[in-house]
Every structure is written in C-alpha cells, then in structure tokens.
C-alpha cells in the first residue's frame, strides 16, 4: 500500500469516528475497530508457483452500547468516504433498533480512559514482480514449499470517549519447508519489516545443511518416555496451548482452565519456568478491543508460580478482579519464556541420548483439567546417542502433561531465545509472535 493510500485510509477512519461522535445520542457509547491489509500472497510447491495474488481488504467493527446492552456490526471499509459512511450510518441505525430488545448485560464494560497512540512501522519489502524470482532462483534445485506474505497491515481503534489508536506496519513473512526425496523436511520462517537478501541466503544455506542430516535412514522408536530437547519453534507450539483455555482468568473462573491445579496450588511448575507478556518489541499493538493499553511487561508465571492471569475489563467486572489490559479472549499476544543456562554448544551433550525435536504439529488438549497435551513431532527431528545426531525419526505422537514437562521433568532452558513470528492468515494476516528458548526435558511420553 502506498503512503498516499495509507494516509487516505487514516483520514477516512478519523472522519468516521468524528461523524459517529456527532451522530451518537447522549446515552450511547460506541467503539470502532479497523482491520485492514494489502497483502501479496505467493504460494510455492516444488520451487514453483502454485498460486499468486494480491488481496486488498478492510473491515470496521462498530459496537454500540446503551442501557446495559450492546451489539456490533462488522462491514467493509474501503476508504471511499461516501460509501463507507453510508454503510456505517445504516449499521448505527440498525444497532439502535436492535439493542433495545436484547437482554441486559450486567458485565458490559463501557469505553473509558484517554489513551491515544499512533505507530507506523515503514518497511522495505520486495516489489510484487520481484517476489517470485528473488525467492525461487536461490532454491531452484530444491524441493521448496511454502508461502510469502507481505504488505501493509493496519489495526486501529476509536471510541466515544475520544480514545484513538493507529497501528500500521509494513511486514513480510516467508514460511517455508525444504523436503528431501524421502519426505523428510526442514522448516524455516523468515520475517521482518525489511527484506534482507543476505539473511535469506544464509537461512537457506543453513537449511540445506540440516537437510543433509535427514538423508540417513529414519530410526523407528517404540512407545515410551524419552529425554527430549525441544527447539524454540517446538516450545512456541507448546506455549501456544496456554492461549487455549489456560492463562485466561475467565476460563479459570468458569472451570475451563488447564492451569486450574496450578492456580489452586495443587500442582507446581519448575522454578526454572517463567512466562511474561512483553510488548517492548513492538510487533503487535498494545491496545485492546476497548482501547486500553497493556503495560509493557506483565509477568504471568514467575519461577513456576502463577502470579497473574490475563484479565480483561469484562472478566474483572464479573469476578471482582483487576483488569490488566488483556484482549477480549484473554489470549497471549506477546509471550516471552525466560531463558535458562543451557548453552547452544551444550545442547546435544546435555541431551546425551534421546530426541531432538525441531517442530510440533496439531496440538490439542487430551485432558485439559490435568494439563495433558497431545500432538505430533514434525520436520527435522532426530534420534541422538551419546551427544551425537544418529538419525532422523519417524514422526511420533506425544501425550504428556504440562505439569510434568514444565514441572518436575524440566531440566533446563537454553540461554538464548528465538523470536517465532506468527504467520497465521485466517480472516486476515496475524501479527506478533513468541520469544522463547529451547528446552531440555526428562521422560517425555511418546505413545505411538
């Protein structure tokens, strides 16, 4: 998206807020959220182009609140003021009519505060016509598959109290895999605001080296418990489960949290495990669906103790808690797991004999109240003996409780962390990611 188009959208968004302020009744409150993007999506398979295109999209969610009732309308936002305002005004009139007939919501939270922010992260991305040759010429001889997504993503907010936020970022992600002839693969993610040719070449060369290790015959293991090193990408996958009914205060209150036993202090986690929300890196907006700004840092688990949950203003009102800027679903937005003491060079030696797991796949709670998670190993995963990689493994299913692998069986985290970017594109391109170390675990349970 060109700067002029970006400016037009921001002007149009601001005009929408101002006009709604004029149109609203004294007893009404509203919030407006904008999601917009212009994204180049190019999909690869076998180092060829499978699909390529550009998506220009934008939508507004207008929520109207009055007399302890609320409802929303979501509609397209094109930047064409006449058209957008006509749609928005129709939505406002519909909402006025509808909310009168809805039940009272005693925990409705009205917008408050006076937060404003404006952040624009400009970038230098590949031109549309350069994406394919730039990416593919380097991997022409390889079985390269994946997707490049690049362009501007905008998240904005405004409300009837005068709060206003604008967050625009020029960002790309290249999520790829390199396969060998036997179907084994190395996974890579490359992301940022500026395309760095040298870094891309280095990443691909590193992946080629890993690919060579996969050429050995795969080792078949029997079910059982194995000492395991999880690389940062795998740790990020495990961490992601905490956003699915675990760190949410509402889930705790409603009998639906995997951390309930930790909260009740019936179970413990290792003192080596610390988790916080860290917004210092600026990859995601710090404002939430009510325009509230989260603190730059929020500790959640400190040395194995649950010190905070994610509490949004609605949950706070319902259960008498203090809100801490959490989003409406009380999920992690900028999680960071603290590093430990395991140095990169010590990983294989400390593992000694066991599994080196690079990535995981398709995680799910197999028994949420006991924190038990199942899933599969995926991509470059190896059997290690006496501190040396012996062979790749057949993909294995695991089924293990977080109270064991982040508790009594946690040996150590690495002393380095990696940023694992969010590459999801459901509905629209997601932002952010996890900052995580690798981790070494004893007796991790593999079932098939």
């Amino acid at each position: 998206m060109k700067l002029a188009e970006l400016s037009t959208l921001e002007t149009s968004f601001n005009q929408l807020i101002e006009t709604l302020l004029i149109k609203k009744k004294e007893t009404e409150q509203f919030t407006v959220r904008l999601t917009s993007e212009e994204s180049q999506f190019t999909r690869f398979n076998h180092a060829k182009v499978r699909q390529t295109g550009l998506v220009a999209d934008g939508s507004i969610e207008l929520t109207l609140m009055e007399d302890e009732r609320s409802s929303f309308r979501s509609f397209p936002f094109t930047g064409n003021w006449d058209k957008d305002w006509q749609t928005a005004y129709t939505a406002l009139l519909e909402l006025r009519e509808e909310i009168t007939f809805l039940p009272v919501d005693p925990y409705l939270v009205l917008p408050s505060g006076n937060n404003t922010s404006r952040e624009i992260n400009s970038g230098q991305l590949l031109a549309a016509e350069s994406v394919v040759p730039t990416l593919l010429e380097l991997v022409a001889e390889l079985d390269f598959t994946g997707m490049y997504a690049g362009g501007v993503v905008i998240k904005a907010y405004g409300d009837s109290q005068g709060q206003k936020h604008w967050f625009a970022t020029d960002i790309f992600t290249l999520d790829y895999s390199l396969f060998d002839n036997c179907g084994q693969a190395v996974k890579g993610i490359f992301a940022g605001n500026n395309w760095d040719e040298t870094a891309y070449i280095a990443k691909i060369n590193q992946a080629k080296t890993q690919l060579q290790l996969l050429s050995r015959p795969a080792k078949q293991l029997t079910r059982g418990q194995y000492r395991t090193y999880f690389a940062p990408a795998a740790v990020a996958d495990l961490l992601g489960m905490l956003s699915w009914s675990a760190v949410s205060e509402a889930d705790l209150q409603q009998g639906n949290s995997a951390l309930a036993m930790l909260s009740r202090q019936e179970k413990q986690l290792s003192p080596k495990f610390s988790l916080k929300e860290n917004f210092e890196q600026g990859f995601v907006p710090r404002f939430n669906q009510l325009g509230e700004m989260v603190a730059p840092e929020l500790p959640l688990i400190a040395q194995g103790i649950l010190v905070n949950t994610l509490v949004n203003s609605r949950t706070a009102k319902e259960y008498g808690k203090t809100a801490n800027g959490a989003n409406s679903s009380e999920t992690l937005r900028a999680p960071e797991v603290s590093p430990g003491n395991l140095e990169f060079e010590q990983i294989l030696g400390s593992l000694d004999t066991g599994l080196y797991v690079s990535n995981l796949h398709y995680l799910n709670w197999s028994d949420r109240p006991t924190g038990r998670i199942t899933g599969m190993t995926r991509y470059a995963c190896f059997w290690v003996e006496n501190g040396e990689i012996v062979a790749p493994i057949e993909n294995l299913r695991f089924d293990e409780s977080l109270y064991r692998f982040w508790g009594e069986n946690l040996v150590e985290f690495t002393n380095f962390q990696e940023f694992i970017p969010e590459v999801g594109t459901y509905e629209s391109r997601q932002l952010g990611g996890s900052l995580v170390p690798g981790m070494l675990v004893n007796d991790f349970t593999y079932t098939l």
Binding site: G53, F75, N80, P103, A260, D367, M376, T447
Partner: protein
C-alpha cells in the same frame, strides 16, 4: 450485481487466455449466551470480488472489497501482473479447459427464513437453554449460541460462465461444564459446533430441543462420578457425532489431491496416500462406502457448482473399501491424472479456491444399534468429539470424546469419562466390522475446517451411521 460483473468482464482489456470474476456477499449473525447472560451479539457483512486471470499457463489473482468498475478493472490488471510475473515459474501449465463454461443456480432449502426470529427472541431462547442446562449447582458454566449465514456468490467468466448460488445456514451449539473439586467434565450437544446445516430457524425450534438440553446438563453431572475409561484394546463403537470427525480427519484430508501433490506440505501436511493408490488401495474393510455428495438437501456443504464453476455431483470416493477417486478439483485432476470431484472452494472472495471436501458421508449399512451392541461381549461406546489430533500425513491419530459407556455382554452398562482412542488410519478402517443402517444415520457439520496458505476456514458436512471397530486401543485421562 450481474450488471457490474458482466460490464466489468466486457470492458477488461487484458491479453489473457481466461478471466473470471467471483463476487461474494456474506451476511452473518452471531448470538452467544453464557450462564444466561448475553456475551456476543452482532452481525457481520463482507462483500468483494476476486479476479483470476490465466496468462501463459499461470493463474494470477487480485481481490478487492470495492465493486466499483474502476476497482474491478484495476484488480484485473493486478491479477494479470501477478500471473505474468510468475509465468516463468508455474507449477503446471493450466488451461482454460480447467474453467469450463457453466450457467446455473443453486439455493439452499429452508422453511423459516432467517428474519422470522428477532435478535431478542433468539437471545431469550438461548438464555432459557442455559437455564435448562443448569440441572445442578455443580454445573459451573453453561453456554448456548446460534449463528446464521446467508452467502451469495456470483461467478462470471470470459468464456461465458454465469453462476449464482445462495447458501442459507444455521449453526447452533449448547453445552455445560460440571465441576466437583479437581474433577471437571464437559458435555455438549454432539460436540463443539457440530450442529451446522443449511436451512432456516426450523433447525433450532425442534420438538426434541428441551429434552435434549436437559439430557446434556444431566450427563455433565453424570460424568463427574463416572469411571475412568479403561486402558485396553477392545471393540469400539462410535456414534455418528464422532464418526463425523473420524471421516473428516482420516478420510477427507488424506484424499485431497492437492495434499498428495504437495501443495499443503508446508502447512496442513501431505498424505500417506499416493497417486498410484487410486483404483487399487484397499482403504478399509469391504463395509466402507464413502461418497462425496454436495447434493444432499440441507447438509452443510451442499452446492450446485464449485468456485471454479465445475458442476457438483455425487461420487463414490471409496467403494466396498477400495479407493476410487480423490477429492481434487479440475486443476488438481489435470495435474495428478486422477479422477476427482467438484471441490475447488474458497472461504470467501479474498481467498483463491483450493481442494476442499464438501459433504463427505459414510453410506449406511444394515445393522440396528441393538444388533451392534448386542453382539459385543466387551467394548466401549463413545459420543461427541472433544479432542482431535492427527499427523501431517493423516496416518497416526488420537481422538477424545465427551461421553462413553462400557459395553458388557451385549449391553451398555457403566458411564465412562475421559474416553480416548488412537490408531493409524489404515489399521482403523480395516477394523470396521459393522455399519449401522439408515435409521441411525445422522449428519453433522463444521464451519471450521482449516487449510491453505493463505489460511482458509471452510464449511463441511459429514453423515454417518453408528459403526463398530474391532481391537482398538482406548484409554482414559489423568496424570
């Protein structure tokens, strides 16, 4: 809408082999109540068009949410540039024959239109559902929701296609969580968001609604004191609401031709099925008959045409246990040389079509439920999915259910909690020993089948009778 699209097609001045415009207008509503209190009320609308252009064997696309003629023309130019820039690197030389001319219409059947219940009436009905679910103080959470969608699609192309489809659907869900100390159990109406159908409000206001709501609440309480599912190998009997997930994950996804061709390897994964398996592979026992059938009235993923204009027809994918054809679009069929189905589908105007299952059904056999249970000396009967995981080749899976019963000497006896089972796909389907009849055949669906880069969540439907599988590993929860 037609005038905008046909005018755009007529005025596009692009040296392309084929041009298509697919416009989508979707209006949806969501109503969600927890513990009798409103949580989420609103409506969403989206509208936009995707232009696809075929240049030198390469397809390029551009999607815009502005349907003004200049925007459509600009999008066509962008799509052309996309195709041109990639044309030296195409994966397959696509031809206009993969987008044949087609003219037609499809509309969902419904009795009570979506505007016959007001937002207030829907909310009060959901509040009553929550109140009815709370059969005991140990019910710590009750939820009820109703979502509706009205989706219209217009498709025109430079070779004369004109297709209009209107899908009207209703998704309902309700459930309860019961807690007694550290024991927590969930129970819902056939699993999370499984009641997804094309139709109107008649789908919600059924006679059996209130007895079923009561039963769901009571079963949540029942599970608190139930025995843990045993860890053993035994006969496994699956209800249709779990068969939905079983068919989806271990038959639908592995048979998608784009996965077999490797398109999905970086995200959703590949498949253990090879191109050479079609026509040869004994996928399961001879009792296994699976159809791809977008023609079932009221099933969630019924349609007349896919999103490239291919005409939808009922086809056997697996017949008497043998793999017949793949779930692949005209594009995938050309690339792979395998027979497929009309399944190029996109989640909306802003995503390109890819191979997706639609309605994928296990055809009924002959057995009554009484006959199936009566013939089992020892086994476990499971209902309603609560956990799902399968590897990237769709080979090793582990699924969990909400509710189970022990089968002893031909009878359902003790209730079991935390029932899970795991197997590999071929082993499991070969262990199919009995298939229920039309009386116990039921259909469900989900709006949340995820796949693709960029990601797309799409709607699918699955029908099945009760089925019996021999010698399956089952196990409980805990640790």
């Amino acid at each position: 809408m037609w005038s905008e699209l046909t005018q755009a097609i007529a005025t596009l001045d692009i040296p392309a082999d084929w041009i298509g415009i697919r416009a989508v207008k979707k209006n949806s509503s969501t109503r969600h109540v927890r513990d009798g209190l409103p949580q989420n009320n609103g409506k969403s609308s989206t509208m936009g068009a995707m232009l696809e252009v075929l240049v030198n064997g390469c397809l390029g696309y551009a999607a815009t949410n502005s349907l003004e003629l200049p925007s459509l023309q600009a999008a066509a130019q962008t799509a052309y540039q996309q195709a041109l820039a990639a044309s030296k690197w195409w994966i397959y030389p696509f031809q206009a024959s993969q987008r044949p001319k087609v003219v037609g219409e499809y509309s969902s059947p419904y009795v009570e239109a979506l505007d016959t219940l007001s937002p207030g009436e829907i909310n009060y009905l959901l509040v009553r559902v929550c109140q009815t679910l709370k059969v005991d103080e140990k019910i710590v959470q009750t939820t009820a929701s109703a979502n509706t969608t009205e989706r219209e699609t217009w498709f025109v192309s430079s070779n004369g296609s004109e297709v209009y489809q209107k899908i009207v659907s209703v998704e309902t869900h309700y459930g309860a969580i019961a807690q007694d100390g550290a024991i927590v159990q969930q129970r819902s109406n056939n699993g999370w968001q499984a009641h997804c159908y094309q139709g109107g409000w008649e789908l919600l206001k059924q006679d059996e609604l209130w007895p079923r709501v009561q039963q769901v609440g009571e079963q949540a309480i029942e599970l608190l004191t139930a025995a843990e599912c045993p860890n053993t190998r035994t006969n496994l009997v699956l209800a249709p609401d779990q068969m939905m997930l079983q068919i989806h994950e271990s038959v639908g996804h592995p048979l998608e031709i784009d996965r077999i061709l490797g398109d999905e390897r970086n995200y959703a994964g590949g498949s253990f099925v090879k191109k050479s398996d079609f026509g040869n592979l004994a996928y399961g026992s001879p009792l296994m008959n699976i159809t791809f059938d977008p023609t079932v009235p009221g099933q969630f993923a019924s349609y007349g045409f896919d999103d490239t204009g291919a005409v939808a027809t009922r086809e056997y994918v697996i017949k008497a246990g043998v793999l017949q054809r793949g779930l692949g679009s005209l594009e995938s069929q050309a690339r792979a040389g395998i027979s497929g189905v009309a399944c190029a589908r996109a989640s909306s105007w802003n995503r390109p079509p890819i191979d997706r299952m639609a309605n994928l059904n296990l055809e009924p056999g002959n057995a009554t439920v009484e006959e199936m249970i009566g013939g089992i000396e020892h086994g476990v009967y499971m209902e309603s999915n609560r956990s799902w995981s399968i590897d990237d080749r769709r080979y090793k899976f582990q699924f969990g259910c909400e509710y189970a019963k022990l089968i002893e000497n031909g009878k359902l006896t003790k209730t079991l909690r935390n029932p899970n089972y795991r197997a590999t796909t071929p082993e499991f389907w070969h262990s199919l020993t009995q298939v229920g009849n039309t009386d116990n055949w039921q259909m469900y669906g989900t709006a949340m089948c995820g796949k693709g880069e960029p990601n797309q969540a799409i709607w699918v439907g699955h029908g099945s009778p009760v089925c019996v599988f021999a010698n399956v590993e089952v196990f409980g929860g805990g640790h």
